[in-house]
């Protein structure tokens, strides 16, 4: 139901509603108030095995240094599920890349591999052009926001947010307190420092988990549907906050979402994945300047990009159907 809704409910009314009906949540079904005035741009055809170099041309504005290089990665889970097949993705310094795709297509799996949390069955992953062992050194910090809040239930909010600093051994430094305060303020959780996670709403737990990721000032921020459980207002605010911080702090972000609108609003690039087996099929560049504001959400360009991405997503869903049948 998830993607049929995301693709089909908007004003663009795609000719062929997808038959895809997997589990998942519909998130941020923002209606774009203006119909697209510009004619449809030609969307480049599906690339079952995209060459990393193909994406390079569109990101000249970004630094050219790759932060993550995923090449030819397969992931087969112990039960035989082929979650990824031949995934290639290069994320460059300063990029904001969104991963979009039907539920179960391997977005979380890919993100975990990027985070070094799951071993690839085949293929290689490099961080800052090196292998795993150097990740975490100065200037090479990762942070991860899970699909669920994943807080420590026995620890109060402040202690949860402080965790990365505790693990790094920097929590005792005077500037750390300020970092924690800043992170809590950014997600609007000041005043809840002493609450236990179970005393918070689902959205507040998610915000605590986002604060925890930001407290170390990561260079590479990986987020797995971080705002799926939040209301529209909070989500928009956090979207803007993430964009602001991304620009101010020179972050590189890989962002998994179910929402076409969110992906287009936030990203330089939207990478569309297909299911069974999970692979990257399209890579849409969003060549729009930052800072992006609410004006961008109602612009014709925005509508055009949403349409392109929606159609790419629909094609990706159909590919999954073909393989499955």
């Amino acid at each position: 139901m998830a993607f049929a809704a995301v693709c089909g409910n908007d004003r663009f009314s795609l000719n062929q509603p997808t038959a895809y009906s997997g589990p998942g949540t519909v998130s941020g079904d923002r209606t774009v108030t203006q119909p697209p005035a510009t004619p449809l741009k030609q969307v480049h055809p599906a690339r079952p095995s995209p060459d990393a170099a193909v994406t390079d041309g569109r990101t000249e504005t970004m630094g050219s240094r790759p932060v993550v290089q995923v090449s030819g990665v397969d992931k087969v889970y112990a039960n035989g599920t082929v979650a990824l097949q031949g995934a290639d993705l290069t994320v460059k310094q300063g990029e904001f890349v969104s991963l979009l795709g039907p539920s179960g297509c391997g977005k979380s799996t890919l993100l975990r591999i990027i985070a070094g949390m799951g071993e690839a069955t085949r293929g290689t992953v490099k961080w800052w052009e090196q292998d795993y062992k150097v990740v975490g050194d100065k200037g090479r910090k990762l942070a991860f926001v899970f699909q669920n809040a994943t807080l420590m239930p026995w620890a109060r909010v402040r202690k949860n947010v402080r965790l990365p600093l505790d693990l790094e051994g920097t929590a005792k430094r005077p500037e750390s307190q300020q970092k924690i305060d800043e992170a809590l303020e950014m997600v609007g959780l000041q005043g809840f420092e002493t609450a236990f996670p179970r005393e918070l709403s689902g959205g507040m737990q998610m915000r605590a988990s986002i604060a925890r990721a930001m407290v170390t000032e990561p260079n590479l921020l990986l987020m797995d549907e971080p705002f799926g459980a939040l209301d529209e207002m909070t989500r928009n605010k956090l979207n803007d906050d993430v964009l602001r911080l991304w620009q101010a702090k020179d972050w590189t972000v890989v962002f998994v979402t179910h929402s076409v609108y969110e992906a287009v609003y936030l990203s330089n690039r939207v990478v569309v994945m297909a299911a069974r087996p999970g692979r990257i099929v399209e890579d849409v560049a969003i060549d729009q300047p930052y800072p992006r504001s609410s004006d961008f959400r109602v612009s014709t360009e925005f509508a055009g990009y949403c349409r392109r991405v929606s159609q790419a997503l629909e094609r990706a869903s159909q590919m999954g159907e073909e393989v499955a049948s």
């Binding site: 985070a115 949390m117 990762l142 991860f144 994943t150 026995w154 505790d166 693990l167 170390t216």
Partner: protein, 267 residues
């Protein structure tokens, strides 16, 4: 109209079992009187209570003795059990090689090996304690080991992403995750320590100054002092209940802020 006390959950939790107990005691007394039961066959609650008062000195000394063995055994089982669990989670190899022996200890009937232990260990108190430890330790080992392994895999991945040390992983993640399981183990184990102490004493049959409640039961049986036998039994039962309640209280104290088991249901 709702009765305020009946709708008070906590009151009902305490009052209902007490009411059932009192009802049972009254029925028992009435039956004994009505059927003119001789005391050496089945004494009524009043006779048992009377014996409790009359023989208090002997019984209390027995209680202290049994309690001493129980608490020593429980304490040792706790320390050794937790140590064993911490060892087990260090590596799968250690667990695989040693866990079967923990099971072996658990399934060996204590009555069968108690005589051996009593022969080997000179000091009777220690011999009894060792028997009780053997019975009480297994729930602590198995529960705590399970708990130390029941860590949210995502949290663990995150710890490792931040390159946590093994020590941080243990103290900040595994031990807190294990607490609910550990306390579950303690509840079972406290009762088993008492049973172990009593069973071992039955086998040892220690009399004199070191007689515990079990020996008093044996002796009262030989002498047909059945009310005293029941009084000793009642003391054992009450001790068990008190230990269990203490464990529940401790576990509530430690977990009430965050764990589902200790949360009050809010409407």
């Amino acid at each position: 109209m709702k009765l305020p006390l009946i709708s008070n959950e906590r009151f009902v939790q305490i009052a209902a079992p007490i009411a059932v107990g009192l009802l049972f005691l009254v029925a028992w007394e009435v039956t004994v009187v009505a059927m003119e039961m001789p005391r050496y066959l089945l004494p009524g609650p009043s006779a048992i209570f009377q014996s409790l008062v009359n023989d208090w000195n002997t019984l209390f000394r027995g209680l202290l003795m049994t309690l001493k063995v129980t608490l020593m055994a429980f304490g040792i089982a706790l320390v050794l059990g937790v140590a064993a669990s911490l060892l087990f989670v260090q590596s799968k190899w250690i667990e695989v090689s040693l866990f079967p022996y923990a099971v072996l200890m658990q399934v060996t009937p204590i009555v069968a090996i108690a005589p051996l232990i009593i022969i080997w260990v000179d000091d009777t108190t220690w011999a009894l304690t060792i028997c009780a430890v053997i019975i009480a330790i297994f729930p602590i080992i198995s529960n705590t080991t399970l708990g130390l392994r029941s860590v949210d895999p995502n949290l663990l991945s995150m710890f490792r992403m931040y390159r946590s040390s093994r020590w941080q992983e243990l103290t900040r993640l595994r031990i807190p995750s294990a607490l609910p399981y550990f306390f579950g183990g303690l509840r079972i184990s406290s009762g088993l320590a008492l049973i172990g102490a009593v069973v071992a004493e039955f086998v040892a049959g220690t009399g004199g100054a070191r007689a515990g409640l079990a020996y008093l039961i044996l002796q009262s049986g030989y002498n047909l002092q059945i009310p005293r036998m029941f009084a000793a039994l009642a003391l054992i039962t009450l001790t068990g209940i008190a230990l269990f309640a203490l464990m529940v209280w401790l576990s509530d104290l430690a977990l009430r802020n965050w764990h589902e088991s200790a949360l009050r249901v809010e409407h």
